[in-house]
């Protein structure tokens, strides 16, 4: 019993290398084929494993990209036109200035085009260009950024500092229901465009 058990195991081991001698085939004929098959299968298994790992890595990365944005809406009502005084009014929620000049309204972004800090308006008196005698003074303003010292003219044109572009102008409309000004900070418009009330 013990002997036969030994023999079975022994022949089993040998058969992997050179094939069962009982079959009467030449050992050379058998040896390359199973090895090639095995290495192909091993390669396939490794590739499948790597592909699975890659897919899971992608799953993890994809899960980090939000599907729902909880950012506040870009279109907001900011108030009735008559509630704005001439000059500048800052609308804090959307970081935008409403610029009123009589019946003309414009919306100028308060976000610096350099690195996104909130610019501040600076008002100062200047000689009125329409007054030839040079005695009258008018109040003019400019925007300055506290982060890296960029300055803009009132229409948003950059004057000095690292700001690469002008402050954005946004579309301004009148709400059809209650006549409030509506600013859309998702819609940039040309800086010359303005809303003129009749």
């Amino acid at each position: 019993m013990k002997d036969s058990g030994f023999r079975i195991q022994d022949s089993g081991v040998r058969s992997r290398d050179s094939g069962p001698p009982a079959a009467g085939r030449q050992p050379q004929a058998l040896s390359p084929e199973p090895l090639a098959r095995r290495s192909v299968l091993a390669g396939l298994a490794a590739a499948a494993g790597l592909a699975g790992l890659g897919a899971q890595a992608w799953i993890v990365l994809r899960s980090l990209v939000p599907n729902v944005a909880y950012d506040p809406p870009t279109i907001v009502k900011v108030g009735r036109p008559e509630s704005f005084a001439d000059g500048l009014t800052f609308v804090p929620d959307r970081r935008v200035f409403i610029v009123r000049d009589g019946k003309t309204f414009r919306a100028v972004s308060a976000v610096c085009t350099h690195l996104g800090c909130t610019v501040r308006p600076e008002a100062f008196d200047e000689a009125d260009p329409t007054d030839t005698a040079g005695r009258r003074q008018v109040q003019v303003y400019q925007f300055s950024c506290p982060c890296h010292g960029s300055r803009y003219r009132a229409d948003g044109t950059p004057v000095s500092g690292p700001a690469p572009g002008p402050l954005a102008a946004y579309r301004l409309t009148l709400a059809p229901d209650d006549g409030q000004l509506v600013v859309d900070v998702g819609k940039e418009v040309a800086r010359t465009s303005a809303l003129t009330l009749p």
Binding site: L64, Y70, P92, R95, C117, P146, P162
Partner: protein, 398 residues
């Protein structure tokens, strides 16, 4: 013997000392013997050990802070205020954490400078060594350290934190092609808000500490495989005459450096209070708004490098915030392969054969320090103020 209850290793012979190293969980990271020269203060200044001690003290002081900190935009600021004013010794824990974080950025940077100045990324010709690879691991450790410090910067959710992160994320967004995606992946939204705070928190307390610990283990293992600290003419020395047993000499040195580092952090944390500005206000940028001190030199460049070529404008954020730092990081990482000086310069402080590269390094270091000083002296509206000049009163609200 009562002392054996706490420390099992008191070898009576060289043989016992060697066996004790192998048998001890904590000590087996050390070799059994070390060169006397490696233990001296001058070749390494022990800056690597100092960095590691600071990292461990950051883990230790960070744990109690985690118990009280709430990573929510509504509660973060208040919870930090509580740590500062309500929790017993909370002010000291926060100060120690902050001082150790700043010190770690300094220590790791100086360590990198030391390795550069002594050419310790160079392999001795005789042996199978990969010191250049350990330099690359070291550069990643510096990057991870700076990121750790920076992600911690946002957590108090005060004005300083909010605006430093807002501007840095806009710098990231200015990178071509991938910039916007990286920014939205880090922020989880278009603006710095709740998801950004959560992401920075997870990076700060889990991802980056584990990365640093793993890289550190790899770093130390490579030093062992490379045969200890780089030193001149490694192959020719008479090893026997110049080595000491790790127990007790090395253990005592490490203990001295550990205690000295922790003592410095402890005392500085008592002397230097941690700032906490007003709560974060996305509507109002403080004047001036500055980057963390280790980014001030980059902020100077970002503020001065907007290039206008006719109708084309290149944002300074791209030049100073992306192109320049990335180029610097790439050159630094690849430096061991670019440095063609002879192998005999390994482990020698500032050898004459490397004069040109040392001069360039010195010039860069002076430039960075100079720009940092200029950045420190910036006042309201980005004007320049000497330390003795008072800042003008600026309205903090419209």
């Amino acid at each position: 013997m009562p002392r054996r209850r706490f420390w099992s290793v008191f070898p009576a012979s060289a043989r016992e000392a060697t066996d004790a190293i192998v048998a001890n969980l904590l000590l087996h990271a050390f070799p059994a013997r070390m060169r006397v020269r490696s233990l001296a203060w001058t070749p390494s200044l022990w800056l690597g050990t100092v960095s590691w001690v600071l990292f461990v003290s950051l883990l230790v002081t960070g744990l109690p802070l985690m118990v009280f900190y709430i990573p929510s935009t509504r509660e973060a600021y208040q919870s930090v205020k509580d740590i500062e004013h309500v929790v017993s010794f909370g002010w000291w824990l926060r100060a120690a954490h902050r001082i150790a974080a700043h010190a770690m950025v300094i220590a790791v940077t100086l360590h990198l400078a030391r390795v550069f100045l002594t050419g310790a990324y160079r392999n001795a010709a005789e042996r199978e060594q990969h010191r250049e690879w350990n330099w690359v691991i070291g550069v990643s450790l510096l990057a991870a350290t700076v990121l750790l410090s920076f992600t911690g910067y946002l957590l108090p959710w005060d004005q300083l934190a909010y605006w430093a992160v807002t501007t840095s994320m806009n710098i990231v967004a200015s990178a071509p092609l991938v910039g916007r995606s990286i920014r939205s992946l880090l922020l989880g939204a278009d603006e710095v808000g709740q998801s950004a705070l959560m992401r920075f928190y997870v990076l700060h307390i889990v991802v980056l500490p584990i990365a640093v610990a793993a890289l550190f283990a790899y770093h130390m293992w490579r030093i062992r495989k490379d045969g200890g600290l780089a030193h001149p003419s490694e192959a020719r020395e008479h090893q026997d005459a110049l080595v000491v047993e790790t127990i007790p000499t090395v253990v005592i040195r490490v203990a001295v450096v550990t205690v000295a580092t922790w003592l410095a952090v402890t005392v500085l944390a008592i002397l230097i209070p941690s700032p906490l500005e007003e709560a974060a206000n996305p509507l109002l940028t403080p004047n001036p708004a500055k980057a963390p001190w280790y980014f001030l030199w980059l902020q100077e460049i970002v503020a001065d490098t907007t290039v206008r070529l006719g109708p084309f404008t290149i944002n300074g954020a791209l030049v100073g915030g992306v192109l320049l730092p990335v180029a610097l990081l790439v050159v630094t990482t690849l430096w061991p392969w670019l440095d063609r000086s002879p192998a005999s310069t390994a482990g020698v402080w500032m050898p004459r054969q490397r004069r040109t590269q040392l001069l360039v390094f010195g010039a860069l270091a002076v430039l960075v320090v100079g720009l940092t000083v200029v950045g420190l002296l910036r006042g309201p509206s980005w004007h320049f103020f000497w330390p003795w000049q008072p800042w003008p009163d600026m309205p903090s609200r419209f």
